[in-house]
Each structure stands twice: as structure tokens, then as C-alpha cells.
């Protein structure tokens, strides 16, 4: 041994030779120059990193900001004050349009021609007669009297009142006639135009008329779909995770299942839509547009997410707990159910909530199974035709009316609100139950 080393020692050459000598190199001007360049490169690199983070953060601000700026005003709607005289004969025949129009025309005595009156008629929402009808149904004493009522304005007037039309543009480019602008201004001057909280947005179903369209139906549809998703994917997901993590032998089969689950989590969502279309609608003949089918598809989609999260949570429970339970004579199943699962539950719940949040925001697969239909009614059951919030957003986003842009943005804000709520619950759960072994 020593011999060997000594032989090598003999072969050791002198220190690396350089013209100026490397040690002095570090004190030389050339090295100092190089060092400055290297530090400059360091600063550039660091700045590039900060810039990347800033770009991402800026995009987030831009995204949320632009949508909030567009959508905030949708939470208010414009209403018109009218002195309505309800004629019993008209009420009996279900004609609620005439009293409204009479009242409106009375505010503009100078307008007598047909064209001018048509402009006036267009100030009111086409849903206004139904509003009046509902008021009469609540208070039948109204009939035969003159009452002051506030009814919904047409979406164009609403947008004008919110300042979304540019008044300085000529009529043709503005997209709203001078006559309407003048009529609306006259109403506003008379104090007959006011804005209030827009309950329609939350309670009504979809409509072709922006001012009557609401996301009530979509919210209910989302909740029903999510309910199905949760009922199916949570128990199945947890059971699968328990089996794979606690009981499954480590062989090729379980290896295959594991690879399969990981891949399934990365399959594009639209493929699940195709699966739903071919299997649930085509093969089993389940109804189109139903929350039941939507929930089934979403359940299959979120299942891998839940399984992966649940397995991670189970894996985090230290083996000593299992050993302790087994040592006092519990069966493996009892060990898991009584000791391991309760400890892993917070982690599983967090993963589940995140999976649900994902399902809540998913759109593409639901397009395939017909949840993109125009549905006015609010669904009452799992097999009723329904749509969900993200799909409602997609459909409204396609509508050309300016007022729908505003409502789309508002719907996005509501959807984001739900997501924040879900994620907030997940974060709080994690905080409360955070446990370290």
C-alpha cells in the first residue's frame, strides 16, 4: 500500500505552471475585470428571475383586474320608475304591457308619433310585464289603482346608465340611437332612472335578453353536478387509495394500476367528455345535458386526483402507528379504519376539496355531453336539463351584446369566488390539522 502511494508520489508534478502564476492571477487586474463581468452576469440572471416572477404576477393582476373592471357593474341593474294605472279588464286578460307603455308615454307627452313611441317602448325590458304581473300576484289590491313601480330597463339603457356607451361618438359608431339616449337622459333628469342591486343575476335562469339573464340555473346545475361528483369520487377514491397504499401487494398488477392512475390524471379533460358521450349517453342511454352525467364524467376525471392526494396523505402516517395497532391485535383492516385513516383524513380532505375545485371550474368535457344547451329553467333534479357555471360563462362569452360581456365577467367573478371559498377551506383545514411526526 505504502509502496504504491510512494510510487505515485514520485510521479507528482510540480504545481500547475502558468506564465504569471495562478495564485497571483486572483489578485491581478484581469481577474478583477473578469470578476466584475461575472457579478454583472449574476445580477442580470437574478433580475431575469425576478422579471419572470413579475411577469407571472402581472398577468394574474391583469387577468383578475380586467375581468373585475368589466364585471363589477353587472351587480347593479338600472330600473325605471313608472306611475302605472292598472285597468282591471287588462289585468283579467293578462295584458300587462299596455299599462306599462301608457305610463311611460305619459312621461313623454311631447312624443306622439309611432316611431317615437317605439323608441320609448324599447326603453323597457321585455321582461317588465312579467315583473308587473308578479307584483300584482303578490298584491292584488293594486288592480284599479295608480301605483308607483320600478321596473327593469332594457339592457341598452342599463349599459348607457352605467356609462358603457361613448356619448361623444356619432350615432352610427355608438351603436345606440340618439333618440334613445335623449329619452334615457330625460328619464334620468326626472329622477325616474335608478340603479339597484341586481338580484336577477343570481336568481334567474338563462335568457336571450341580457337584462333578464341570470346564473341561478347554472349555479344550481353546478351544485347538482358537484354533488354527484363528490358522492361518487370521494368514497371510491379513498377506498382505492386505502387498498393501493395499505393492502395491495407490490406486484406488476398494482404497478400497472399505479401507472394508470398517474396517466389518467394527465389525460386531457376533453377526452373524458368523449368517454361520457360514447359510454354514458351512447351506450347507457342516459339523458343529455343532465347533472347526473356531468357528475359521472367529472367523478371519473377527479378520481385520479383524489387517489393521488389520499395516497400521499396515507403515506405520511408513520408506520409506527400501524405497528402499534397491529401489535395490540387489531386486524389490518381495523388498523387502517381506526388508526391510519383518521390521521390521514385532513390530508385526504384537502386533496378532495382541491379536486372538487377543479371539477367546479371544468368546462370542456361538459360541452360534449350537451350541458351547453340554452336552458331557461332552474333544474330541480339530477336528470333535468341543466348547465353549469363555467359553461354558462362560455355561452355568454359568445353572445355579441355588450351587456353579456359585463354579465360574463360577473359570472367569472362569482365562479372565482366559489373557488376562493373552496381553496380557503382547504387551506384552513391544512392549518388546523397540520401535524408533523
Amino acid at each position: 500500500m505504502t509502496d504504491l502511494i510512494e510510487r505515485e508520489t514520485a510521479a507528482v508534478p510540480p504545481a500547475p505552471v502558468r506564465a504569471a502564476g495562478p495564485r497571483s492571477h486572483y489578485k491581478g487586474e484581469a481577474f478583477a475585470r473578469r470578476l466584475r463581468a461575472r457579478h454583472a452576469a449574476e445580477r442580470r440572471f437574478r433580475r431575469a428571475g425576478a422579471a419572470a416572477v413579475a411577469v407571472a404576477a402581472l398577468m394574474l393582476v391583469l387577468l383578475i383586474g380586467s375581468i373585475a373592471a368589466r364585471g363589477a357593474s353587472a351587480f347593479w341593474e338600472t330600473r325605471i320608475r313608472l306611475e302605472v294605472a292598472l285597468d282591471p279588464a287588462e289585468v283579467a286578460s293578462g295584458n300587462y304591457t299596455a299599462p306599462l307603455r301608457r305610463a311611460l308615454h305619459a312621461q313623454f307627452p311631447q312624443v306622439t308619433d309611432r316611431a317615437g313611441r317605439r323608441v320609448l317602448n324599447d326603453l323597457l325590458s321585455s321582461g317588465a310585464p312579467y315583473e308587473l304581473e308578479a307584483m300584482v300576484a303578490r298584491d292584488p289590491a293594486m288592480v284599479g289603482t295608480v301605483r308607483t313601480v320600478w321596473v327593469r330597463a332594457d339592457d341598452e339603457i342599463d349599459q348607457l346608465a352605467k356609462g358603457h356607451y361613448r356619448r361623444d361618438l356619432p350615432e352610427g359608431e355608438r351603436g345606440l340611437s340618439d333618440a334613445k339616449v335623449a329619452a334615457a337622459d330625460a328619464l334620468a333628469a326626472a329622477g325616474a332612472l335608478a340603479q339597484g342591486f341586481n338580484t336577477t343575476l343570481f336568481t334567474a335562469g338563462d335568457s336571450r335578453e341580457p337584462e333578464q339573464a341570470g346564473m341561478g340555473g347554472a349555479i344550481v346545475g353546478s351544485l347538482l353536478t358537484l354533488l354527484v361528483t363528490m358522492l361518487l369520487s370521494v368514497p371510491v377514491g379513498i377506498a382505492a387509495a386505502v387498498y393501493l397504499e395499505e393492502f395491495a401487494p407490490k406486484n406488476r398488477w398494482t404497478g400497472l394500476i399505479e401507472v394508470n392512475i398517474n396517466n389518467l390524471a394527465a389525460v386531457p379533460s376533453i377526452i373524458f367528455g368523449l368517454l361520457g358521450l360514447a359510454v354514458f349517453l351512447g351506450f347507457f342511454g342516459l339523458p343529455r345535458s343532465a347533472p347526473l352525467v356531468g357528475g359521472l364524467v367529472m367523478a371519473l376525471m377527479t378520481l385520479p386526483v383524489i387517489i393521488i392526494a389520499a395516497r400521499a396523505a396515507l403515506r405520511a402516517v408513520p408506520p409506527s402507528i400501524r405497528d402499534a395497532a397491529l401489535a395490540i391485535g387489531a386486524s389490518p383492516l381495523q388498523t387502517v379504519l381506526h388508526h391510519v385513516l383518521p390521521l390521514a383524513l385532513p390530508g385526504i380532505l384537502t386533496g378532495t376539496i382541491i379536486g372538487m375545485a377543479r371539477a367546479l371550474g371544468e368546462t370542456a368535457p361538459l360541452l360534449m355531453i350537451g350541458m351547453v344547451a340554452f336552458i331557461v329553467d332552474i333544474p330541480h333534479g339530477l336528470t333535468d336539463s341543466a348547465t353549469v357555471l363555467p359553461v354558462q360563462i362560455y355561452m355568454w362569452a359568445d353572445s355579441p351584446e355588450r351587456a353579456f360581456t359585463e354579465r360574463t365577467s360577473a359570472a367569472i367573478l362569482v365562479l372565482l369566488g366559489f373557488l376562493v371559498l373552496l381553496n380557503g377551506v382547504a387551506v384552513i383545514l391544512r392549518r388546523i390539522f397540520e401535524r408533523r411526526w
Binding site: T9, V12, A15, P22, A30, L35, R38
Partner: protein
């Protein structure tokens, strides 16, 4: 076998009483704390040129912390605060004029676990010279790599496989590769943090011989858990205990005639 008998059994050629040697690095009142936790409580130590200084002491005594102060590796640890004064050739290493990058080029380091980069053997050694601009051409770089590998006693084993990844070598070879990597930037001081703790006895013997040879050109500070190793490779030894430096003297003196009770207790194996 006790250390004393070992020292007597293995007399060294240069065990003559230390002639006054110039101090390469000087530490005065070095205090280090991680957050609120003090790790070093005022260390005064001279590191003499072309000598091997061994830092010994029980785990957590601060010897590795002290080592990492010498080339400011502690800068990379969040919440670490260093006070006091450390000089290299009379220049304050924590002063404004010294750049940590330049300092680390002059004060190289070899770590506890061999940590070759996931690159070829050649690129591992060439890494330092490349970033510091030590070689101006391909040939010159080849020469630096070859010389460094030779000085680390690895050339014969790897000359045919310079393009293979550094991780393909055995543990001992990897550690010598790391030493070659440190030598390649021509440091003045080499710090070694328990360089043999992950190696088998034969590889350890190799490294120890290497350290002895390197002393001719470099000043070496080695942290070790192993008192036999300290006795074998070093000329001077400093004993650390609970964040303090208890005593520092010629290695033979420390092991045969420790002045402090704690040193005595440690080297005789009463604790540690």
C-alpha cells in the same frame, strides 16, 4: 491502541519542534450564530502556511462551522451571522475589498461526502478553471486538468475515461476527484470537512497520504472526527468544545501532553 502509542509507533520525518512559521490565516474573536443560537463563542486561531491543521472535537462543537467561516461558505446559509475578524495574508476576508467569489477561489474546500458534479470527469476538474478564466485555451485547460488529476493521485486511474461521468467512480476516487477539482483553481488554502468519513479504510489511507503531499504547496485545514487521522496527517491540532476552542498546539503536544482537562478527556475517549 492508544493515540500516544500510535504517535510513538509512527514517528514522522518532520516532527521537529515547530519553527516560527508565517500565519497564512488568522482568526480573532470569531463568533457565529444561527438565528438566536450561538455556534461559536469567540475563536482565536492561527493557521500556519504549508502546514496541516486538524480541528477535532465532539459533534456539534463548531469545528465545521469554523471551517465554513474561513471561505465564507456560511454566507449561503440563511440566518447565519458571523462576527470577529478573519484574515488571509493580512486581508480581512469579511472586509469590503474581498469578494467571496475570489476568496473561495483562493481558499478551496473539500466536503464530507464526495460531491462530483453530474458532468464528465474532465468537466468536473475543468469547471473551476473555466469559471475563473484560468486557462486561455483548450491545450492549457487540458494541461491544468491533467496536472490537477496527477496531483490528486487519480490520473493513472482515469486517464482513459476522462469523458465518463464523475459519478461513475468509486467513493474514494470521487473524493480524490473533488480534491483535484479544488486543486485545479490553484487555491492557497484547502479546507477539508471530514473528507474521509464516507470512505473505506483503503480509500482513507490514499487520501491521507495525498494530504501529506499537498502540504508542500498548500495550507490545509482538516476537520476530523477521527483522532488517529488527526494524529497521522496534521502538524498542528485545535480542540473545539461547545463552541469554544479549548487549545491549539503541535499535534504531538496535544496528544501526548494536553494542557486542558477537556482535551485530555476527549482524546482518551471519556466522551465525544
Amino acid at each position: 491502541m492508544s493515540i500516544r502509542s500510535q504517535l510513538k509507533l509512527r514517528p514522522r520525518a518532520d516532527q521537529r519542534p515547530a519553527a516560527p512559521v508565517a500565519a497564512k490565516m488568522v482568526a480573532r474573536g470569531v463568533r457565529v450564530s444561527y438565528g438566536a443560537k450561538p455556534a461559536l463563542k469567540g475563536i482565536d486561531l492561527d493557521i500556519q502556511e504549508n502546514r496541516v491543521l486538524a480541528l477535532i472535537g465532539p459533534s456539534g462543537c463548531g469545528k465545521s462551522t469554523f471551517l465554513r467561516c474561513l471561505n465564507r461558505m456560511n454566507d449561503t446559509i440563511e440566518g447565519c451571522r458571523v462576527e470577529g475578524r478573519i484574515t488571509l495574508d493580512g486581508e480581512d476576508v469579511y472586509g469590503r475589498t474581498i469578494d467571496p467569489v475570489q476568496l473561495r477561489a483562493r481558499v478551496g474546500m473539500v466536503f464530507q461526502k464526495p460531491n462530483p458534479f453530474p458532468k464528465s470527469i474532465y468537466d468536473n476538474v475543468a469547471y473551476g478553471p473555466r469559471i475563473h478564466g484560468l486557462a486561455s485555451g483548450r491545450d492549457e485547460l487540458d494541461e491544468v486538468v491533467q496536472t490537477s488529476l496527477k496531483r490528486a493521485g487519480l490520473w493513472a486511474e482515469v486517464r482513459e475515461r476522462l469523458r465518463e461521468p464523475g459519478t461513475s467512480l468509486s467513493g474514494g476516487q470521487q473524493q480524490r476527484l473533488c480534491i483535484a477539482r479544488a486543486i485545479a483553481v490553484s487555491p492557497e488554502v484547502i479546507l477539508m470537512d471530514e473528507p474521509c468519513s464516507a470512505l473505506d479504510p483503503i480509500a482513507t489511507a490514499h487520501i491521507e497520504e495525498l494530504i501529506d503531499e499537498l502540504r508542500a504547496n498548500y495550507t490545509i485545514v482538516i476537520v476530523t472526527h477521527n483522532m488517529q487521522q488527526a494524529a497521522r496527517v496534521s502538524q498542528r491540532t485545535a480542540f473545539f468544545h461547545l463552541g469554544e476552542m479549548v487549545e491549539c498546539d503541535d499535534t504531538e503536544e496535544i496528544f501526548t501532553n494536553p494542557r486542558d482537562e477537556r482535551t485530555q478527556g476527549y482524546i482518551t475517549g471519556r466522551y465525544g
